[in-house]
Symmetry: C2
Subunit: 411 residues, 2 copies
């Protein structure tokens, strides 16, 4: 008799037939006596189509109207899932973000949830009704539709789990858990039974597209029991063969390295001979932030003569044009040589074990050197080492590192 928040991603609600399979799964959980809140994504491909419509209509669009357009995909699936549940004799109704309401700030396009009204939902759940919620959307204080950014349905699910005090939050995706690396690149990639919140955050931000980073942050902060499961396998309840994302302490057998993540979507910008005076770096990154360019890795070389320095950072490839334009308009940087490079990949080794073990980084550099893979930029955190390499070496690097850290599953 648990209260479960279950989230189903795009491929698991790709068409009416798949939505029916999801309804079957939920009906079985209800039959076991559980209370269910179900968060749904848009049908796969729909959100991209809607974003394309906005881009085609107006390249520099008003994010408030963008939110009106792109939030509609989840609305359709929520209505259809409620219908599919009713057809199976399960009492259900859809709740739009503005109906609950799920209140967010007014950062349209990437809003943050500020509060969720739960009294009415608790009442409905108490009567056995399934609460169906379109993910990714909320409503601002001004009463306008907001969205939470790509992958935002994960965050909707975790935030609902927190607000409702759910026993667990199940994220159903098109993979059956979190793997040591992408199984499409390394056939011997191994599914992890557990992974710590910290590692999951690093894996997600390093390019593993299983969970939205923000959703894991909230789950960690509020102690939500989070599971990643396959929507295509017929498992229900808690005897699940997915991956449990949990606190570090509750992981008994800690591994040195949990996984290898990669992100092909990187571009590098280098500012040569920047005046080495205080405030220059701040100005560079403030101007980029003002243009909504997210900066990932940052490296600054020590200047040999103390007068000038080289500043390198990485950004998403889609932002490169905007970044170059922004930097070109900064007065202080007039005369500074700004160079950029595309076709780069970030490859990361993630693991809480590396905090207490030496040699993890050196093994990474040795492995890549053996394959003659040149490293452009290195960036480290307590539980992650990331390197920037030429994109064409991505698969080779991932496979070599996966083997070097002994992550293969037993044959």
């Amino acid at each position: 008799m648990a209260l479960i928040v279950a989230k189903f991603g795009g491929t698991s609600v790709a068409d009416v037939e798949r939505i029916g399979i999801v309804a079957d799964k939920i009906a079985r959980e209800i039959a076991l006596g559980h209370s269910l809140v179900v968060v749904v994504s848009a049908m796969s491909g729909v959100t991209n189509q809607l974003i394309q419509y906005c881009a085609d209509t107006s390249p520099l669009y008003d994010a408030r109207e963008y939110d009106v357009v792109v939030s509609s995909g989840e609305q359709v699936v929520a209505g259809l899932l409620a219908l599919a549940l009713q057809k199976r004799g399960v009492n259900a109704r859809s709740w739009m973000g503005w109906q609950i309401p799920i209140r967010t700030n007014d950062m349209h396009g990437k809003a943050r949830i500020e509060g969720i009204e739960t009294d009415e939902l608790h009442t409905r759940l108490g009567t056995g009704e399934v609460v169906v919620v379109p993910g990714f959307q909320g409503v601002t204080d001004a009463g306008r539709i907001s969205t939470l950014g790509r992958g935002g349905s994960d965050t909707t699910a975790v935030a609902l789990a927190v607000a409702l005090g759910a026993d667990r939050c199940d994220i159903y995706t098109d993979v059956d858990g979190v793997y040591t690396t992408d199984p499409r690149i390394v056939s011997k990639a191994r599914k992890l039974k557990t992974i710590s919140f910290e590692e999951m955050i690093e894996m997600a931000s390093a390019g593993a597209r299983v969970l939205q980073t923000r959703s894991v942050e909230i789950a960690m902060k509020r102690g939500v029991k989070l599971q990643v499961l396959s929507s295509f396998e017929d498992h229900i309840g808690s005897d699940l063969p997915g991956t449990l994302v949990t606190s570090e302490e509750s992981i008994v057998e800690e591994e040195l390295v949990s996984g290898i993540a990669y992100d092909r979507n990187e571009a590098k910008v280098t500012l040569l001979n920047v005046p080495d005076v205080p405030g220059v770096a701040a100005m560079v990154f403030q101007s980029l932030a003002g243009a909504a360019v997210n900066v990932d890795m940052i490296v600054q070389n020590i200047s040999s003569d103390g007068k000038a320095t080289d500043l390198t950072f990485t950004i998403g490839r889609a932002d490169l044009g905007k970044a170059m334009e922004t930097l070109g308009s900064v007065e202080t940087l007039k005369g500074v040589d700004v160079q950029s490079k595309e076709n780069l990949s970030k490859v990361s080794v993630v693991g809480v074990g590396m905090i207490s073990h030496h040699g993890v980084a050196s093994k990474m550099f040795e492995t890549l050197a053996e394959k003659n893979i040149n490293i452009h930029v290195i960036s480290t955190s307590e539980i992650k080492i990331s390197v920037l390499i030429d994109e064409e070496y991505t698969e080779l690097a991932v496979r070599s590192l996966h083997a070097a850290y002994g992550l293969e599953q037993d044959a």
Copy 2:
């Protein structure tokens, strides 16, 4: 400096390019100093797709969830049009039915508008902002999304024109006005400069799909100046070559017959030897109303012996299965022979002039007899004569009647 409500139908917002053309048109009206409220339909084909999703998910669907699903098509176009206007330097924002709000009763799927809040809209219009409204949708007192039935965007436009006290309501469609009959059947069909509300209602309910009947009813009752215009021709303002729908008194040169309408979508049901006692007809039609079957024409023959009678009525072809099932379950009709016939068309002659002229009906019957077209059912109102014929004679009947009443345009 007029306040104009303009509605754009599905083909005029079929894709991003067409939405841009609509935005150009609105921008020109704004440049003339007018205030604009724009009501949009979903992209053509989208609503049918969404209805199909609902039907595939659950044949007997909850109309409340159906409304959640099908209202999304207009939402997308409203957001995109606001973006397209902003791109052209026109201040604009979208307003969902629940944001205005447009209050309706709770007859989901075919709700009626009960009230529209206009204070905020007037304020926005006063600042020169264009108000973009998704047609077809509203919100119930329970805070749920409702829709107004097929063609409901026309009704949204007229209701907004009434509530805001607009100077006129322009309905942009894929035809450039109301014709004496379907130009696809009769190449010499003539565009009407004016048509009375009454005639427009009869034409709409007789199958001419230019305007939703309900929208014309409201316009007539509240005296809204209603124009039907082409969204593909580049006319703006009031020098428009469309059709003005107006009150009978303001039409100077009244024509005997204004147009010939047809509807291929008819089915006929005949109950043979029904007991000729009071209350039987009432029971038949109450049971059909309970099953949400709309009955169109009704004919009852006088019984020769005063004991039994034949009752014939017509319904939409899609409702035939449901109607036969419903009648089969009525206890009093046990033993009554119920016959049905599909593949029928209704052809109607419409004109306010026929009130004061004799011979309109007899000319219709003579014309059809000359072509050996058999009439199954006849039904008349003050300004309309409808006959039910075999569907295969539809084009022949329409062409012959159009010629017989002298409706051709000058060669």
